[in-house]
C-alpha cells in the first residue's frame, strides 16, 4: 500500500478540477474527483479520503448542505473553495465544521499550504492523545506553553491574560483560519458579542509582537472572516 494521501475534489468545473488535480498529482497526492454534491458524498463515504476540497457552488445541491451531510458522520478535514466577496458563506462553512477555506482564484503554493495544514491537523486528531508540544516557534516568535511565556527575537513580551488566551488559541490551530465568532466563544465564553473587544485585543497583540502592525507577519487578518496564525514566515 502506498502512503500517498488521498484528496477528494468535489468541483463541477472541469477546468478547475483538472488543474487542481494536476498540481496535487505533481506533489505526490492521490486524487479522486466528483462533479456533483451527491457523488461527492458517496465517494467521501466509500473512499474515506484524507482531505476533501469542496467547491461551495455545485449544480445539484448547496455546497453548505454537502458539508453538513459529511460532518454528520465523519471528521475528514474539509477545505472549502469559495469566491472572494462571499465572506459570509465562508464564515458559515467554517462554523459548520469546515477546517479551512481557500479563495478563488488561488495560487499553487497557497493551495498546497492549505492542504498540508488540513492533513496535519487531522493527523493530530487521529493521534488522539499526542501530548501538546511544550513550545512553538515561527520565525522569531516563540511561545513557551509551560512557562506561559511569549517572546519575539528573544525579548519577552508582556501580554494580558486575554491576549495570551487568544494567542494560544491561534497557535493551537496554527495555519488554520479561526472565525471571529469562534475566537470570541473560546475566549469570552458563549452568549457574548465581543467583536469590538477582540479587535482591540488583536490590535494590542500586534503592537506587541509585530514589527509593523500594518504589515503583520505572524497573525494575519482574513477580512470579513477571522484571523490566522501563519506556520512559516513568507519570504
Amino acid at each position: 500500500m502506498d502512503n500517498k494521501s488521498v484528496i477528494l475534489i468535489i468541483e463541477d468545473e472541469k477546468g478547475i478540477a483538472n488543474f487542481i488535480s494536476a498540481i496535487l498529482k505533481a506533489n505526490d497526492y492521490k486524487v479522486i474527483k466528483a462533479d456533483s454534491g451527491k457523488d461527492g458524498i458517496s465517494m467521501a463515504a466509500s473512499y474515506s479520503p484524507d482531505l476533501i476540497l469542496l467547491d461551495l457552488g455545485l449544480p445539484d445541491m448547496d455546497g453548505i448542505d454537502v458539508l453538513k451531510n459529511i460532518r454528520e458522520w465523519t471528521n475528514i478535514p474539509v477545505v472549502v473553495v469559495s469566491a472572494r466577496g462571499h465572506e459570509r458563506e465562508k464564515v458559515e462553512a467554517l462554523d459548520l465544521g469546515a477546517d479551512d477555506y481557500i479563495t478563488k482564484p488561488f495560487g499553487t503554493s497557497e493551495l498546497l499550504a492549505r492542504i498540508r495544514t488540513g492533513i496535519r491537523h487531522s493527523e493530530k486528531h487521529m493521534g488522539g492523545n499526542l501530548l501538546a508540544p511544550s513550545s512553538l516557534t515561527v520565525g522569531e516568535f516563540r511561545i513557551d506553553f509551560d512557562k506561559r511565556l511569549v517572546s519575539v527575537a528573544g525579548k519577552a513580551v508582556h501580554l494580558t491574560p486575554i491576549e495570551y488566551k487568544i494567542i494560544v488559541l491561534l497557535s493551537q490551530n496554527i495555519g488554520k483560519v479561526l472565525t471571529h465568532d469562534f475566537i470570541i466563544k473560546e475566549v469570552w465564553g458563549p452568549y457574548t458579542n465581543e467583536i469590538q473587544a477582540l479587535r482591540v485585543n488583536m490590535a494590542n497583540i500586534r503592537r506587541k509582537i509585530e514589527e509593523n502592525p500594518a504589515e503583520p507577519q505572524y497573525i494575519v487578518t482574513q477580512v470579513g472572516v477571522g484571523y490566522r496564525m501563519v506556520e512559516e514566515l513568507e519570504k
Binding site: E87, V200, M202, N212, P213, A214, T221, V223
Partner: protein, 903 residues
C-alpha cells in the same frame, strides 16, 4: 465591437415591470346559464370539467348542491372534491362553499354551483358571487351555474311572470363581464317530464313547485327571456363597439330614486334600457326638506335603492333642493341627460295633491327636449308609509314650543297696540291691515315651522275684526267688504308665512351645501399643499375625524405587509383601538386585495367594526381608509361624501406615487447610464488580454514541440499575467455590483483600519514582490465603519495605480491618520504625477475617445472610478493631487460616525 447601447433596458420596460407585478392575472369566469332548475346546467358543467381534467387542468369541485341527481353525481367521479364547510345556524347544519380552503389550495379551475346563492350568516361574504369574485381575483378560473330569474335586472320581469319573488339575485355586471356564458337549453315539455319523474326536486317538494312555478307557460316565457338575454350578450360581443358607442354617445339616462319600493323597478328598467343602448346612466336622489322627516324604514329603502343602482352600475348623485322637479331639471340640463325615468304611483292623486302639478308635468314643462319615461309603481305598498310620512311632517312643522308661542303672542299684542295707536291718530284701516301682515311676516321669520305663522294669520284676522271693524269689540262684521278683506288678509298672511318658512329651509340647505363645498375645497387645497405621503394621510385622518366624528385608520399599503397604519382616535367617538386589531386588519387586507368597500354596513365582512373603503386609481389600490362604526353605520349621504373626499385623496396619493415613481425611474436611469458607461469603458480593455491568452495558449497547443522551452515559458507567463489582470478586473466589477444599489446598501461594520490596509498590502506584495511599500498607521487602534472588502479594493486599486505610475525602485507610501471625525487614507508615489490633461477625467469611468492617456489604454481604466463610487457610497471623499517634490498623492476619507452596527 458590440453596441452596448442596444442592450440597455428600455425605461418603459422597467416601469412596466414595476406595475406589472401588481397586476395579477384575473381568473376566467364561465357561466352555465339556464332558464329553470333541471335544464342540466350542473351536468353540463361537470361534463366540461371532466373534459378539462383530461387536458391536464388542475380542477377542483368547490361546491355542488346536495339535491343533485344521481346521473350528475356519477359525473363527479374522478374529480377532486373540496369538502364543504359546515356552518351551524339556528341549530341547522348548513353546507357552504369553503372559500378559504379553495383559495389556499389554489387550483386552476374551481366549480361552484348556484352563483346566486346567499351564504349562511357568519360566512365572510353575504353572497356566493362575492366568493367567486375573490376566486377570480386570485387568478383562479371558475365554472358556475345560474338561472335566469336570479339576474338582478330581470328580477321584476320574472317576478311578474311567475308571481314568485326571487330574493337571491346577482348583479348583471357579473353576467355581462363573464368570459363565457353557455346557455343550457331544453324543451319545456322535456323539462316538465323530467320534473314529473322527480328528477329535479324530491317528491314532496315537486307538487308545490309544479303548482307555482313549473307551468308550461311560465317555462316557455322564462326560456324566451333566458335565450334573449344570451342572444343579447352575443350580439353585443359581435357588434363593432367603438362605432356603436359613438352613435349612442348622446344617450344618457337618469332615474329618480325615492323611498317608494317602485323605485327599484325604475332602477332595473333603466339598467336594462341603458344596457340595451350601451348608454351611461345616473341615479339621482333629491334631498328636500322632507328628507329630514323620513321614517327609518324609508331611509333604509332609499339606501337600498341607491345600493341597488350602484350595484347595477349607475352613477349615484344626491342633490339638494326644495322642489324636486326644478332640481332634477337643472341637473339634467347641466349634465346632458337625454332620458329621465320616473316612477309613478296612483295613490299620489289624493285631494291634497289635486291642485299640485305632478312631477312629470313639471318636468315636461321645464324640459321640453328631454324624453320622460314613466314607470307605473306598485299601488298597495306605499299607502301606509305615505300617510305616516305626512303625519311626521305635520308633526315636525307644527310642533309647539312655549318660547315661540310667547314670541307670537308678544308680537300680536305689540302690533295690536300699534294699531290702536294708529287708529287713535285716525289713520285708516288699510295701514292697520299692513301692520298685521307685517307682524305675521315677522312671526314666521322668528319662529320655526308653519304653526305660528298659521295661528298668527288666523288670530290677526280675528283681532282685526274684534278691534278695528264696526261694530268695535265684537266679532261681527257689518260692513260689506270685510269678509273679503278677512279672506285676503288670511291668504296673504298664510302665503307670506309659508314663503318665509321655505326660504329659511332653503337657506339652511344652502348653508349645509356651502359647508360641504367649503370643506371639500379646503381638503383639496391642503392636499395639494401636502408635501409627502405621511402628511397627506395625517391630514385625511384629521378630516375624517372632524367631518364624520368617527375614528379613522389609513393603510398606505397592503395591510398584511406588517406596516403600521395611521390611526386617529376621534374625541367624539367611543374607544376605537379595536381598529388596530388583527381581525380588522384582515378586513382591510380583503378590501385592499379586492378593491371593494367592505366592513360594517356593507355586504362583505359585515361583522367588522368599521367601514373600509379602498382608494383606487387606475386599477391600483393606493390605500385603504377605515372609519369606525361603533356608533352606528355610515349613512348613504356620508358614504357619498366620503367617496367625494376619497376621489380628491386619490388624486393626491397618485401624485405622490407618481413623483416617487419618477424619482425611482430617474435614479434607475442614472444608474443605468453609469453601468452602460462602465461596460463600454471596459469592453475594450477586456478584449486585449483575452486575445493574448487565446493566442498564447493556441500557440503552445498547436506548436508544442516546435517551440523551445524559453518561448513556451514566456507564453505561459503571459497567459498567467493576462489571467491575473482579468481576475482583478472582475473583482473590481463585482465591487461595483455590490454598491450599485445606492449608498443605503453598503453594509458598514466597524473594521480596524490597519487590518484592511495590511490585507490590501499583502495582496499587492504577492504580485509586485519587488516593490517597496511603507505603511504608517496610528498607534491607537482605529475602528472605521465600512464594508471591509470594498475598502480593501479601493486601497488595492490605489496601490496598483501607484505601482504602475512610478519607477521600479521608488517607494510607495501608505499613511492612515485619524482627524477629528474621519479616517484619512493616503497612498503616495514618487512617479511622474498626474498630467493636467488627465486630471479632469481621473475618476471618470468613461473618457471621451482620444483624450485617454496612452498608458491607461490597458491599465486599470476603471479602477479609480470604482474607488470613487465605493468611497462615495461610504459618504466619504476621494481626491488626488501632485506632490511638490514629484509624484502623485491619492487621498480618501471615511466618516467615523454613522456605523449601523456597533456590535
Amino acid at each position: 465591437m458590440v453596441d452596448l447601447r442596444d442592450m440597455r433596458p428600455n425605461p418603459d420596460d422597467i416601469l412596466e415591470d414595476l406595475f406589472g407585478n401588481e397586476k395579477n392575472r384575473k381568473g376566467r369566469l364561465e357561466i352555465f346559464f339556464g332558464y329553470a332548475a333541471g335544464v342540466g346546467k350542473t351536468y353540463a358543467m361537470l361534463d366540461d370539467a371532466q373534459e378539462q381534467i383530461k387536458c391536464g387542468v388542475d380542477v377542483l369541485v368547490g361546491y355542488i348542491e346536495q339535491h343533485t341527481r344521481p346521473e350528475t353525481i356519477e359525473l363527479m367521479a374522478g374529480l377532486p372534491i373540496l369538502p364543504p364547510k359546515i356552518v351551524e345556524y339556528r341549530k341547522i347544519q348548513l353546507n357552504e362553499f369553503d372559500l378559504d380552503a379553495a383559495l389556499k389550495r389554489k387550483p386552476e379551475l374551481v366549480l361552484v354551483d348556484e352563483l346566486a346563492h346567499t351564504n349562511a350568516p357568519g360566512m365572510r361574504n353575504k353572497k356566493r358571487y362575492q366568493d367567486i369574485e375573490e376566486l377570480l381575483n386570485a387568478g383562479i378560473d371558475v365554472f358556475t351555474t345560474l338561472n335566469v330569474q336570479h339576474l338582478e335586472s330581470l328580477n321584476d320581469i320574472v317576478q311578474n311572470i311567475t308571481r314568485i319573488n326571487v330574493q337571491e339575485t346577482i348583479p348583471d355586471k357579473l353576467f355581462n363581464e363573464a368570459d363565457k356564458v353557455r346557455l343550457i337549453d331544453i324543451e319545456p315539455d322535456e323539462l316538465l317530464r323530467r320534473f314529473e319523474n322527480g328528477k329535479i326536486y324530491r317528491p314532496e317538494r315537486t307538487e308545490k313547485a309544479l303548482e307555482h312555478f313549473f307551468t308550461k307557460e311560465n317555462l316557455r316565457l322564462l326560456r324566451e327571456i333566458a335565450t334573449r338575454k344570451a342572444a343579447n350578450r352575443i350580439s353585443h360581443d359581435n357588434q363593432n363597439e367603438p362605432r356603436l358607442s359613438q352613435k349612442m354617445a348622446n344617450i344618457k339616462l337618469l332615474v329618480c330614486i325615492s323611498a317608494s319600493p317602485s323605485s327599484a323597478k325604475c332602477i332595473r328598467w333603466t339598467e336594462r334600457t341603458a344596457e340595451a343602448f350601451r348608454a351611461p346612466w345616473t341615479a339621482v336622489y333629491v334631498e328636500t326638506m322632507e328628507s329630514d322627516s323620513l321614517t327609518d324604514l324609508e331611509k333604509r329603502s332609499i339606501r337600498e335603492n341607491l345600493a341597488l343602482a350602484e350595484r347595477l352600475g349607475a352613477e349615484i348623485v344626491t342633490l339638494n333642493g326644495y322642489d324636486v322637479a326644478t332640481v332634477i331639471a337643472e341637473y339634467a340640463k347641466l349634465s346632458g341627460i337625454t332620458n329621465i325615468v320616473i316612477g309613478k304611483s296612483r295613490n299620489r292623486k289624493t285631494i291634497g295633491n289635486l291642485f299640485k302639478p305632478s312631477l312629470e308635468d313639471k318636468l315636461i314643462t321645464l324640459l321640453s327636449s328631454i324624453e320622460i319615461h314613466i314607470i307605473p309603481g306598485n299601488v298597495v305598498a306605499n299607502k301606509n308609509t305615505l300617510s305616516k310620512r305626512k303625519r311626521i311632517r305635520i308633526g315636525q312643522n307644527l310642533f309647539w314650543s312655549w318660547q315661540d308661542g310667547l314670541k307670537t303672542l308678544g308680537l300680536l299684542i305689540g302690533s295690536t297696540l300699534l294699531s290702536l295707536l294708529l287708529q287713535s291718530l285716525n289713520i285708516s284701516d288699510q295701514n292697520i291691515i299692513m301692520v298685521y301682515i307685517l307682524s305675521v311676516l315677522i312671526i314666521s321669520r322668528v319662529t320655526t315651522g308653519y304653526l305660528y305663522g298659521i295661528i298668527a294669520s288666523g288670530l290677526t284676522v280675528l283681532i282685526f275684526n274684534y278691534f278695528f271693524t264696526v261694530p268695535y269689540y265684537t266679532l261681527h262684521a257689518i260692513q260689506e267688504g270685510y269678509p273679503i278683506t278677512f279672506i285676503i288678509m288670511l291668504l296673504v298672511a298664510l302665503i307670506t308665512s309659508a314663503l318665509t318658512v321655505r326660504i329659511k329651509t332653503q337657506a339652511r340647505l344652502a348653508v349645509e351645501r356651502e359647508h360641504r363645498t367649503e370643506v371639500l375645497y379646503e381638503i383639496n387645497k391642503k392636499l395639494l399643499a401636502s408635501a409627502d405621503l405621511q402628511s397627506t394621510i395625517t391630514l385625511i385622518n384629521d378630516y375624517m375625524a372632524q367631518i364624520f366624528g368617527r375614528s379613522a385608520i389609513f393603510y398606505a399599503q397592503d395591510p398584511m405587509e406588517n406596516i403600521t397604519p395611521t390611526f386617529l382616535q376621534s374625541p367624539l367617538d367611543s374607544d376605537a383601538s379595536f381598529l388596530l386589531s388583527e381581525d380588522e386588519r384582515a378586513v382591510a387586507h380583503w378590501v385592499f386585495m379586492n378593491k371593494k368597500s367592505a366592513g360594517a354596513g356593507t355586504d362583505t365582512l359585515m361583522g367588522a367594526g368599521a367601514f373600509y373603503m379602498p382608494i383606487v386609481s387606475q386599477g391600483k389600490v393606493l390605500g385603504v381608509i377605515g372609519l369606525s362604526c361603533s356608533n352606528g353605520n355610515l349613512s348613504q349621504n356620508n358614504r357619498l361624501f366620503l367617496r367625494i373626499i376619497t376621489s380628491q385623496l386619490e388624486m393626491a396619493l397618485e401624485r405622490h406615487y407618481l413623483s416617487n415613481e419618477q424619482r425611482r425611474a430617474s435614479i434607475e436611469s442614472e444608474k443605468e447610464k453609469l453601468r452602460s458607461n462602465l461596460l463600454r469603458g471596459i469592453s475594450h480593455d477586456l478584449r486585449t488580454p483575452l486575445t493574448g491568452i487565446l493566442g498564447a495558449s493556441s500557440a503552445i497547443l498547436e506548436n508544442g514541440t516546435a517551440l523551445d522551452k524559453e518561448t513556451q515559458d514566456t507564453l505561459v507567463a503571459n497567459i498567467k499575467e493576462d489571467a491575473q489582470w482579468l481576475i482583478r478586473m472582475v473583482e473590481n466589477l463585482l465591487s461595483v455590483t455590490r454598491i450599485n444599489e445606492g449608498p443605503m446598501n453598503v453594509r458598514k461594520t466597524p473594521e480596524a483600519a490597519e487590518e484592511i490596509v495590511a490585507e490590501a498590502i499583502s495582496r499587492i506584495r504577492k504580485r509586485f514582490s519587488s516593490r517597496k511599500i511603507t505603511v504608517k498607521v496610528p498607534n491607537e487602534l482605529l475602528l472605521v465603519p465600512m464594508d471591509g472588502t470594498l475598502i480593501e479594493q479601493v486601497i488595492i486599486n490605489l496601490l496598483e495605480n501607484a505601482v504602475k505610475h512610478s519607477p521600479e525602485r521608488s517607494t510607495i507610501e501608505v499613511d492612515v491618520r485619524k482627524t477629528k471625525n474621519q479616517a484619512v487614507f493616503e497612498v503616495s508615489d514618487q512617479g511622474s504625477g498626474i498630467s493636467d490633461q488627465d486630471y479632469p477625467y481621473l475618476f471618470e469611468s468613461y473618457v471621451p475617445d482620444g483624450k485617454r492617456s496612452t498608458d491607461s489604454s490597458r491599465g486599470m481604466g476603471i479602477g479609480l472610478s470604482i474607488c470613487k463610487s465605493i468611497v462615495n457610497a461610504h459618504n466619504g471623499k476621494i481626491e488626488a493631487e501632485n506632490k511638490k517634490n514629484g509624484g502623485a498623492i491619492f487621498r480618501f476619507t471615511l466618516p467615523l460616525e454613522g456605523s449601523e452596527d456597533n456590535g
